[in-house]
């Protein structure tokens, strides 16, 4: 649903892998009229795809009947995407930022998703609200 004054778009989908494609389409359709660069749009779509994949896998453990809420706000200088889930939370501070060259030489796994999102976006904020719901905020500066 579009709120033209605030340029806010919202989508609520079930936590199935099939919906990830719908989420990508929603982001593309919401951003396209704003005239931001294709590169910025592609980065936002890939970051949201990663975030949504993480919700399906890690917050909901592939349970298909849960909710994923996506809110996209187009502001004058940024695009802010908030992904809300009601599943398991994680502590981003426990996941080190990998140096990829080094990461490829190490045996440990994990941290790839956050690395990818931080590479693609200008800001990544994750907050868990008393174990009731979690919000991941992805911010991309735009020049449009």
């Amino acid at each position: 649903m579009e709120n033209t004054k605030q340029k806010t778009f919202e989508l609520s989908v079930r936590s199935t892998t099939e919906e990830l494609s719908a989420i990508r389409d929603f982001i593309r359709q919401s951003i396209s009229p704003a005239g931001i660069t294709d590169e910025a749009m592609d980065k936002i779509i890939l970051a949201v795809d990663e975030a949504s994949t993480n919700v399906v896998k890690h917050a909901y453990h592939y349970a298909k009947d849960k909710e994923i809420k996506i809110q996209l706000e187009l502001k004058s200088e940024s695009c802010v995407v908030t992904i809300t889930d009601f599943g398991d939370s994680f502590d981003p501070n426990e996941i080190p930022q990998p140096n990829m060259k080094q990461y490829l030489e190490e045996k440990r796994v994990g941290g790839l998703g956050l690395y990818l999102m931080r590479t693609l976006m200008d800001e990544v904020q994750y907050t868990s609200y008393d174990g009731k719901y979690n919000k991941l905020v992805l911010i991309k500066k735009i020049s449009a």
């Binding site: 892998t17 099939e18 990830l20 494609s21 990508r24 590169e39 592609d42 980065k43 890939l46 795809d49 990663e50 994949t53 399906v56 990829m100 060259k101 990461y103 490829l104 030489e105 045996k107 796994v109 790839l112 998703g113 990818l116 590479t119 693609l120």
Partner: protein, 111 residues
Amino acid sequence: MTIHESKENNVYVVSLTGRLDIMNCEPVEQKFAEVIDTKNEMQLLVDCSQLTFVSSAGLRLFIIALKKLNLKGGKMAFCALDSGTMKIFTISGYDKLFKIYDSRETALANF
């Protein structure tokens, strides 16, 4: 997702056809595990000429395969990416981590 495999000049070539996202990355993940862990192949070329889309889940399994081969002293490369797939590699910065060649022939010549 269709997977074809062949071996050319000691290089194991896995060709991917279709879309690679979370819904169909499992067979590719299994194929990489079979090639790297079971067959113990040390040189892997992923032919992307028929690959039409890669999501973040696809990028993840590529990185994991590269990491496994790195740890064993092996090599992994990609060839014939279309512009859409190349864009995903570029914006994620993964183009700097992987060896990417224009064609299968060039890739095979450079292993």
